[in-house]
Structures are given as C-alpha cells and as structure tokens.
Symmetry: C2
Subunit: 131 residues, 2 copies
DNA sequence: CAGCATCCTCCGCGATACTG
DNA sequence: CAGTATCGCGGAGGATGCTG
C-alpha cells in the first residue's frame, strides 16, 4: 500500500483543550468516511462475508470495501477471519471495541431517525431564500 | 450513479433499509468534514464571533471557517446574526436543532474520552505485525 | 471468492489577494 | 472585522484488469 500514512494521532495545534478534540477527531476521521459507519452498522447486526457486505451496500466499489475493512481492522474495530477453504471464505465481525463504539453511536442514529429530513428541509428553505 | 449535486437527500441504492442509513449518512457527511464538529462543539459552549472561532481553532483557514459556518447555517444547525455596526460584528450560535444534535453526539464524545488511544494502540500493534 | 495493483479524475482545501 | 474570488495541488476514490 502507499506509504501515505497521515496518522491522525499527531493532534495538531487546535487549541480546543476543553473539548479534547483530538481523540474525537481521530474517531470521526475513522467513521466519517463514505462507508465505514455503514459497514460497522451491518456488522453490528451479524457477521458478514466480504461479498455479503458488497451486496448489502451495493454501490460501494470493491476497492473501497477492501480499504474500509482493512482500516477498521487496523483500528481494532473489526475482526477478520480467513477460512482456509476453496473457494476462500472470509468473515468479518465487530470486535468488542467496535461493538462498544457502535453503542456510542447509537444515540446519533436514534436522533437521525427522530428528525427525519429536518436537515434536508432546513437546507431546502435556505436554498429557496437564496435563489 | 450520477454524480450530480452533492445533495445527500437522494439516498441512492444502498439497500440498507433496516439501518435507515440514508439519514445517518447525511448527518455524518455534515459533521464529518474536517471542522464542522469542532465548530459545533465550540458553539455548544457559547455564542462565538467569527474571529473568536478562527482563533479557537487556529489552524483552520479563513475560507474553510466561512464555508463550514455557511453549511451549518444552511442545514439549520447554526444561526447567524449580523449586527449592523462598524466594524461589522457577526455572532454564531447553535439553533435548537444544532443543540439537539450536539447532545446526540455526546455519548460519542464521552466514549472517545473513555477509550483514550485505544484505536491508536490497535493501529500501532497492527502496523508492527505487518512490518 | 476475495482480494491487490494501476491509472485517472474530480474536488476538498490551503494560500493568497481583494472588499464593504 | 468578516467576509468573497481565484488558483493550484494532493489525495480520495471509481473503473478496470489480474491473481491465488
């Protein structure tokens, strides 16, 4: 893989000590890319195989699914099990850490369900006003 | 899939109905960029002026702060008050919606504080094994 | 089936300069 | 002070092709 490690642990000059933004930003950076959270949620339901995930998400490219899973694995959120059979079979599941994280995301999920389209509506209103 | 506009409301072909991923992804897309959450957290403490935010975050570019605030405003999370004085003064504060959202993020913040560096450690372990 | 490698495009974002 | 306008690069990520 490319050596472009821009590991977020550096925690730059943001002076927001009170909010301890560093940890949080790392976390967000991990979850906030286009697919990670989706994958974590699916794995929260049950173990999935590679292709299952691929089909469940459907418009994810194979490359991005691989990358996403590798990153999640690397960060200790997802566990990867290779079954030495032919054809190959690989299972992905949440680690305890991953499950805990998913729990922490729960309220956010709930919130988004409770406020369906509120952001979208505000957006539409704003746009209309501008137009 | 048509790239079209970046408006998330289209909620494409992701078949993850159970997780209602669309809303959530919209939400994440809004929060997950480099600065939004940081801004929302600061505004959660109190109202800030433009330059206050700029100094609090410090390594945000002026352009990105403007863009971030505009997007948050557009999405109904932040309210912008222009005081017609010289020199100009603009205050930013959370809307009720924004405050509610911040609450929903709370557990995530707490979690990240409770697991300091756990992800970073897993990452280091993983990298060592690979190397 | 579950990947890795390569190429290429698009746009996020920083740097810089100008304004009411 | 609080923006807007323009330029340019770097990296995220899609498409495609090859492998064990």
């Amino acid at each position: 893989m490319s050596p472009g490690h821009s590991e977020g642990t550096d925690c730059p000059s943001t002076k927001v000590e009170e909010t301890q933004a560093c940890e949080l930003r790392d976390l967000l950076d991990r979850l906030a890319d286009k697919w990670s959270l989706l994958v974590v949620e699916l794995l929260g339901e049950r173990t999935h195989r590679f292709t299952e995930l691929r089909r469940a998400i459907d418009d994810i490219s194979q490359r991005m699914l691989t990358l996403t899973l590798r990153r999640l694995e690397r960060d200790g959120l997802v566990h990867r099990t290779v079954h030495p059979v032919v054809p190959p079979r690989v299972d992905y599941e949440l680690t305890p850490l991953g499950a805990a994280l998913l729990d922490a995301v729960g309220p956010l999920v709930t919130w988004s369900r409770r406020h369906p389209g509120e952001i979208a509506r505000a957006r539409a209103a704003y746009d209309e006003q501008v137009a």
